[in-house]
């Protein structure tokens, strides 16, 4: 696919990823400049989904590195297959020449490629998703931006391995801690916010066409109201909006009513404190009053 803004926008639409021009242009720039794309935003706004869509758009493999506390190079880059090496040593103890065996033990067949090396060594351009990078340690982050600036890694026993094709790198962060300037400098940056009511209606309609226009509009307006409540700690994600809509559909509801909200709210808000805040500050009755579809067009 030739990379142009229009072609990307079309491909996103076709892949069912409803988004705005800012996202398309930023992704376009990251692709053309061959720079990692750093996505920040609250959980559930579609950061990981964007990487998956990119893999679908370019019809390529998605290699995912899920970050967590304590992640180190061994799990991110490469590791020697120790068990296999030990077996080899045991088998060849009596027979093999020591020098040959050492060379043999550190050859490619004993190398376990982890996501970063796998992405660099892939024989086509892949999408490398480094998910929730804010969960790693700062030391790992420093290591990461070295890899991402040169797209090559050094394995002492094998030498330097350079990328055959520079992968499309997408990093996501929930912004729980600020990433280092060094990492940010190397990336094209995009902050993803919750969708507007109009966009969320479009998302619901695209994913769940069986939800009528009215239900989609009422759900989107209701979710926007819930998200606007400062005291709700875990704001509903887009996936939760869809789950909520599905549950309403399963109960044969074609509009939001107080009873429907009461029956299904736990699919939208998933901890007691947030449910309490909802009841205290918003309430199912107010929601029913607030969301009628005829008002939705005015938003």
């Amino acid at each position: 696919m030739e990379i142009t803004i229009a072609a990307l926008a079309k491909a996103f639409r076709e892949a069912g990823y409803i988004t705005d021009e800012e996202v398309v242009i930023t992704v376009y720039l990251a692709l053309r400049l061959e720079k990692p794309l750093l996505l920040e935003g609250a959980p559930g706004v579609g950061k990981t989904e964007l990487a998956k869509v990119l893999a679908a758009v370019f019809n390529t493999e998605l290699i995912r590195l899920q970050c967590y506390e304590g992640l180190d190079e061994n799990k991110a880059l490469y590791e020697w297959n120790y068990q296999r090496q030990l077996l080899k040593i045991q088998i060849a103890k009596e027979t093999a020449c020591l020098e040959d065996m050492e060379q043999d033990l550190f050859s490619r067949q004993y190398l376990l490629e982890r996501p970063l090396l796998k992405a660099i060594q892939a024989d086509r351009k892949v999408v490398l998703l480094i998910d929730e990078v804010d969960k790693t340690d700062e030391e790992f982050e420093a290591f990461l931006f070295e890899v991402l600036s040169d797209f090559q890694v050094s394995v002492p026993e094998l030498g330097t391995l350079s990328a055959r094709h520079i992968p499309i790198v997408v990093l996501t962060s929930n912004n729980e801690r600020e990433l280092s300037d060094g990492l940010k400098r190397r990336c094209v940056y995009l902050y993803l916010d919750y969708p507007t009511v109009e966009r969320e209606i479009a998302i619901i309609r695209s994913r769940l066409p069986e939800a009528g226009e009215r239900l989609a509009a009422e759900v989107a307006r209701a979710v926007a109201l819930v998200r606007s409540e400062q005291e709700i700690k875990k704001k509903p994600s887009i996936a939760e909006t869809l789950d909520w809509t599905r549950s309403l559909l399963a109960l044969d509801k074609d509009r939001l009513s107080k009873s429907a909200v009461d029956q299904t709210l736990t699919l939208l808000l998933k901890n007691k404190a947030d449910l309490d805040v909802f009841q205290k500050k918003i309430g199912a009755a107010r929601l029913e009053e607030y969301v009628p579809a005829e008002k939705a067009h005015g938003t």
């Binding site: 803004i5 021009e21 800012e22 242009i25 930023t26 376009y28 720039l29 990251a30 053309r32 400049l33 720079k35 750093l38 920040e40 506390e69 304590g70 180190d72 061994n74 590791e79 020697w80 120790y82 090496q85 030990l86 040593i89 045991q90 033990l105 340690d137 030391e139 912004n175 729980e176 801690r177 600020e178 300037d181 940010k184 400098r185 190397r186 990336c187 094209v188 940056y189 995009l190 902050y191 400062q230 005291e231 700690k233 404190a273 309490d276």
Partner: protein, 444 residues
């Protein structure tokens, strides 16, 4: 290639962003220019997105970027209007300073006051201004008052201006901007200084001046900060030669050189014990406006990290940990705590409070304890408090003082000088300060 005139313009725009507090490295400037070569430059919104994606890497900077973009790339007539507004403001400011200079004179000669002091004077209510002028006049008319009385009078007037500013919760008026190009100053003025965050101005606003309307947003910011600090505190793993979990993979790898015989073990241990946090918060009268925020912060920490000990003090000490552990909503916890502890809004006696902590709560003071004191340093029995603090410092790992007294007042406060010699002290009267402290390495 980006045309030279545009390159020039972009570099000036970046200069403006930096002036507004956006952190931009030279690599990012090159990225921005490279990005522009890939786009249709006649599309204003496309250019905006491209510059934003390459130059702005923190969510809090987005609002200021948008504003700066609108101002900088405004149509020429709009730019002219901005320049005019700026000139008018400058003229008005000059007039204010001249007028204050004329009014604040002693025996016909103007008093030696700084511009910022003159601005404070000009900003005072009419009644307060008249009172000050009356005071100068009476001093002039006193018996045997000569020119050598001037320094004394100047000192009194300066002190009075600072006092009145504090009394009204006024922020320090901005100093005259540096003169590095009138046009750039006009642009900075038009965008509005101090807006680098998600909510313009709130981060830099003195916490006691935050209005009721902005409270929910301020609380939300504080909650996020508490969450970030909690995250730092709970990060645990790092490879180490010391104790605890065996790192099997590294052990095998390391021992390959010994033919696979595992005789040197490698461990993955906890980075360190989670620090035992002890929060020690001043809730006396002078701290009234800060306490709500500070407690919100403590509450945020408690909801994520266990094992924090919290105390409030004014004349005496009260342990408030149980209120925070109850799992109740903050709006429920706060009134209950105020009603029960009885320490709210009194005078401050840090010495008594510290002594109480050492004597009655010795079990919470250990070599792993990190103590955070939140106070404006104003206390009775200053020297005694300093002695107690020094003694306490020996019993814990470290003591960090978050001082809510605005930084510019530190020099004048003897208490700050004394306590600073004993413990590390950070300015903490705005949410932005709190963020800086959290981003810093106080617990690493």
């Amino acid at each position: 290639m980006v045309p030279e005139y545009l390159e020039n313009s972009i570099v000036r725009f970046i200069h403006l962003l930096r002036r507004l507090g956006v952190r931009i490295g030279s690599g990012e400037v090159l990225d921005a220019l490279a990005a522009l070569t890939l786009l249709d430059l006649s599309e204003r919104e496309t250019v905006r997105v491209a510059l934003k994606a390459t130059l702005v890497k923190r969510p809090g900077e987005r609002a200021v970027f948008d504003k700066a973009f609108d101002v900088f790339f405004a149509p020429p007539e709009e730019r002219e209007r901005q320049q005019e507004t700026y000139e008018q403001k400058k003229d008005a400011d000059r007039e204010i300073l001249a007028q204050a200079g004329r009014e604040l004179s002693f025996q016909g000669t103007p008093l030696a006051l700084s511009d910022s002091e003159k601005r404070i004077f000009a900003g005072l209510p009419e009644k307060d201004r008249q009172n000050l002028l009356e005071f100068i006049k009476k001093t002039e008319e006193g018996k045997k008052v000569e020119q050598n009385f001037r320094p004394v009078l100047e000192k009194v007037i300066k002190g009075s201006l600072v006092y009145r500013r504090q009394g009204q919760g006024l922020l320090t008026p901005s100093e005259e901007p540096a003169r590095d190009g009138q046009e750039m100053e006009a642009l900075v003025e038009a965008v509005g200084a101090g807006t680098v965050d998600g909510s313009p101005g709130l981060m830099q606003e003195d916490m006691r001046a935050i209005s009721e309307r902005d409270l929910p947003q301020a609380r939300e910011l504080i909650r996020k900060l508490a969450r970030q600090l909690a995250d730092r505190i709970t990060r645990r793993y790092r490879r180490s030669k010391k104790r605890q979990r065996l790192d099997l993979r590294r052990t095998i790898r390391y021992n390959m050189r010994h033919g696979g015989t595992l005789f040197l073990l490698r461990y993955r241990s906890r980075r360190k014990q989670k620090p035992q946090l002890l929060l020690f918060c001043d809730v006396s009268g002078s701290m009234a406006r800060y306490v709500g925020f500070v407690l919100q912060f403590i509450y945020g920490l408690h909801s994520v990290v266990g094992g924090i000990e919290s105390f409030v003090f004014s004349e005496k000490l009260a342990r408030v940990t149980p209120y925070f552990r109850s799992g109740e909503d903050f709006s429920t916890v706060m009134p209950e705590m105020i009603n029960r502890s009885g320490e709210w809004g009194r005078g401050t006696n840090l010495a008594v409070a510290l002594r109480g902590l050492i004597q009655d709560y010795a079990h919470v003071l250990s070599g792993d304890t990190h103590m955070i004191i939140v106070s404006d340093t104003k206390t009775l029995a200053l020297f005694e408090a300093a002695r107690e603090l020094a003694q306490l410092k020996r019993k814990v790992k470290e003591v960090v003082w978050l001082n809510t007294l605005p930084r510019q007042e530190w020099e004048r406060a003897q208490s700050v000088d004394i306590f600073r010699k004993i413990v590390r002290m950070y300015s903490c009267n705005t949410i932005s300060d709190l963020e800086k402290v959290m981003r810093g390495k106080i617990f690493s």
